[in-house]
């Protein structure tokens, strides 16, 4: 593949965050899974910046590499997975950290909340104890006893402190997701990676959890990387959105603008998948995207999206795409933004 994402920096498309160094900076990240049938490139050269207190939404279908990216940030990938590039957290490369330093950075530097809250908690341990354990292991000196810290954390996520004595099965799905958020926040991380944190939840509970994330972000200057396939959710909670396809970012920019006026046909398809209620264009007219994401071992030539693109041009199958400027603070990897 002729596209080298690092070269885009020299073509006048510098990262969009200005002056202060970003909290998180991902440079030319490649992740290749090892399988019996050979390497599977899941992330293929990805650059990303996230400022302190910023919420960045990462969208894309299953298999686009978005969860792999989330796991790679915390080095949670299976042994043997090949990872190259840089993940700079406050200027320090996570990928080069020694085990002891890595352990300290996980939880206190960045923490992750997974989807499927129902299975992550230990079913035979009281939830208060599970949170205390994280505090004990990762914090040298705390403010107050672990017990009071647990109570504070639970109240922070909207659960009564007495819930500390409950076992996970006594909590509903939404409550368990709150416990996981409390757990992730237990060591005051600067960055929270939230991988589909609300997907398994009900609408009303989802709204509660999203409101919670928003308030935490405002209160603690917490940076959040929010990963989901639901672009409408991202538009509602994030300041910026990045859309991933076949292991690379294909569009990024301010959330509202990307959602309302996508520059990449793939983003347009994702945005149209969630109808605007009341808009006659969507009435009796569900909109999807035919076809499946490409096999990472056998990517299409040129623009990897071209076989599914509703807007394909003659040059697409043999033109290497990269993130080109697509308006103020926006970039998209589609030849159409070049305006030729």
């Amino acid at each position: 593949m002729s596209t080298d994402p690092t070269s885009s920096a020299s073509t006048g498309t510098e990262p969009l965050v200005d002056a202060p160094a970003p909290l998180l900076s991902v440079r030319d990240l490649h992740v290749t899974y090892k399988t019996a049938a050979g390497g599977v490139p899941a992330v293929r050269g990805l650059d990303l910046d996230l400022a302190a207190g910023e919420t960045l939404g990462l969208a894309g279908e299953s298999g686009c590499g978005k969860s792999t990216l989330g796991a790679a940030l915390l080095r949670l990938l299976p042994r043997g997975t090949q990872v190259t590039g840089e993940v700079l957290l406050d200027g320090e490369n996570v990928l080069a950290m020694k085990p002891g330093r890595l352990r300290a950075v996980r939880w206190s530097g960045m923490a992750i909340v997974f989807q499927g809250a129902l299975h992550t908690l230990n079913p035979v341990q009281k939830i208060g104890r599970q949170i205390e354990e994280a505090i004990d292991l990762h914090r040298v000196a705390g403010k107050g006893s672990p017990r009071t810290q647990v109570a504070e954390l639970l109240e922070l996520v909207g659960l009564p402190a007495r819930r500390a004595d409950d076992y996970p099965h006594l909590l509903s799905g939404g409550q368990r997701q709150r416990v996981l958020i409390a757990l992730a926040l237990s060591c005051d991380p600067k960055l929270l990676v939230a991988d589909e944190p609300t997907t398994a939840l009900d609408v009303m509970v989802q709204a509660q959890v999203l409101r919670l994330l928003k308030s935490l972000q405002a209160e603690f200057q917490l940076a959040v990387l929010f990963i989901t396939h639901d672009l409408s959710t991202l538009a509602a909670v994030c300041s910026r959105i990045a859309v991933m396809y076949a292991g690379r970012i294909v569009e990024e920019g301010p959330a509202q603008e990307v959602f309302a006026a996508p520059a990449h046909p793939y983003t347009r398809a994702l945005a149209a998948a969630f109808p605007v209620i009341g808009d006659p264009a969507f009435r009796h007219n569900p909109s999807g995207l035919p076809g499946d994401p490409p096999d990472p071992r056998n990517l299409p030539t040129g623009c990897p999206f071209h076989p599914r693109c509703p807007d394909i041009r003659e040059e697409c199958p043999h033109t290497a795409v990269e993130l080109w400027p697509a308006g103020p603070e926006r970039r998209a990897a589609c030849v159409k933004v070049l305006g030729r």
Binding site: E61, S62, S172, G173, G174, D202, V203, M204, V205, Q206, A207, Q208, L210, R211, H229, D230, L231, S232, T233, A235, A236, V237, Q256, F259, A260, A269, L270, A272, A273, F274, P275, V276, I277, G278, F282, R283, H284, N285, P286, S287, G288, L289, P290, D292
Partner: protein
């Protein structure tokens, strides 16, 4: 036998499916009774797509299961093609030839050791449908958008994508040419890109085969995409129903309004986030069952309208909403709506 699939026109005036005062009660811990479904009346005309909407625990899945004959109602009855559902084995088998169900998770719904051909043919074999089995399976796969169908015959579920798996499940249901398809959250486990494809397939099936669809979901966007009518369920009962345009354009019940306000959209309405989750069906509140979470009661609006005592003390059923056209079937179960109707009646 009522199982013979017929075009929607031949069913005449009677709705395809009717629920009369349907209740499903479970015995809970310590002798408590959970009224998961608590007196539901519903009529579903042939060829219609009805969305049954509500939070987890509101009883919508139990209601769907009782329509399938998987749960015997404690009170009331299910009527299909103007005949009451009977629960002996033979009657149920015949009934299920006409009424099929698809589930949320296509991966769980398919047997991992069964080829796609076997999965689709299974229903034909159970129902002892004669004719050319291979041709019927091929037609069903093709109608579900899996073309050419022969290519899928020998594949196993893990060899196809999630969206294709849901198409296999739909083909397995549609191969029997059912009159009614009950779909429980058919797209909530699928990717954004696949979601629209599956919904478009469901609409096409309605057009091409005349099948009636009851879709159970918490997703109002889905309802706007495909449903002709919406029924909103809260704590075992339907609290508002009407056409999709009426219900999403001018919702009257405060619960429907709250549900609509939390749909994530770029242009945010002020979201009205209700605290807590759907309450406990073993302890259904007295009065309007929604009153402990009702924003009208909490904000003092109910008191100002002089109905707070009613909200807290008097249970109520669906009543027509004021201002709706006489032909409209827009109904809500809310004291504030009823009060507005009376006021309009007095002033008229």
């Amino acid at each position: 036998m009522a199982a013979q699939p017929a075009s929607s026109a031949s069913t005449g005036e009677a709705p395809l499916l009717e629920l009369h005062d349907l209740g499903v009660h479970y015995r809970g811990a310590h002798g408590s009774i959970a009224r998961a479904v608590d007196g539901v009346n519903l009529a579903l005309p042939a060829g219609e797509v009805l969305a049954l909407v509500g939070e987890s625990g509101c009883g919508k899945t139990t209601l769907a299961r009782s329509i399938m004959g998987l749960v015997r109602p404690t009170t009331g009855e299910v009527r299909y093609r103007d005949e009451p559902l009977r629960y002996d084995r033979r009657s149920l088998r015949d009934y299920r030839r006409g009424v099929q169900m698809i589930f949320q998770d296509p991966t769980g719904a398919l047997n991992v050791r069964q080829t796609i051909y076997e999965a689709v043919a299974e229903g034909l074999r159970i129902q002892k449908v004669g004719g050319d089995e291979q041709a019927l399976v091929a037609a069903a796969l093709s109608r579900a958008g899996l073309r050419p169908p022969e290519r899928f015959f020998t594949l196993y579920p893990y060899e196809v994508s999630g969206g294709q798996r849901q198409r296999v499940v739909i083909a397995g249901a549609m191969v029997l040419e059912p009159g009614l398809l009950v779909a429980d959250e058919p797209v909530s486990s699928l990717d954004a890109s696949v979601r629209g494809e599956i919904l478009a397939l469901m609409l096409r099936l309605v057009r091409e085969t005349g099948v009636t669809i009851l879709v159970v979901t918490h997703d109002l966007g889905l309802a706007w995409n495909i449903a002709d009518r919406i029924a909103v369920m809260y704590l075992g009962r339907i609290v508002e129903q009407g056409t999709t345009e009426e219900l999403l354009g001018a919702p009257r019940h405060p619960y429907t309004r709250a549900l609509l306000s939390v749909v994530p959209e770029a242009a945010q309405r002020a979201p009205q986030i209700l605290s807590g989750e759907a309450p406990d069906p073993t302890r259904i509140p007295a009065g309007c069952r929604f009153h402990p979470r009702c924003p009208l009661v909490a904000s003092g609006e109910a008191e100002r309208l002089g109905i707070e005592a009613l909200c807290r003390g008097e249970d109520l059923g669906l009543a027509p909403v004021p201002g709706a056209a006489p032909s409209s079937a827009h109904q809500a179960a809310c004291h504030a709506v009823t009060a507005a109707t009376h006021e309009q009646g007095v002033s008229a």
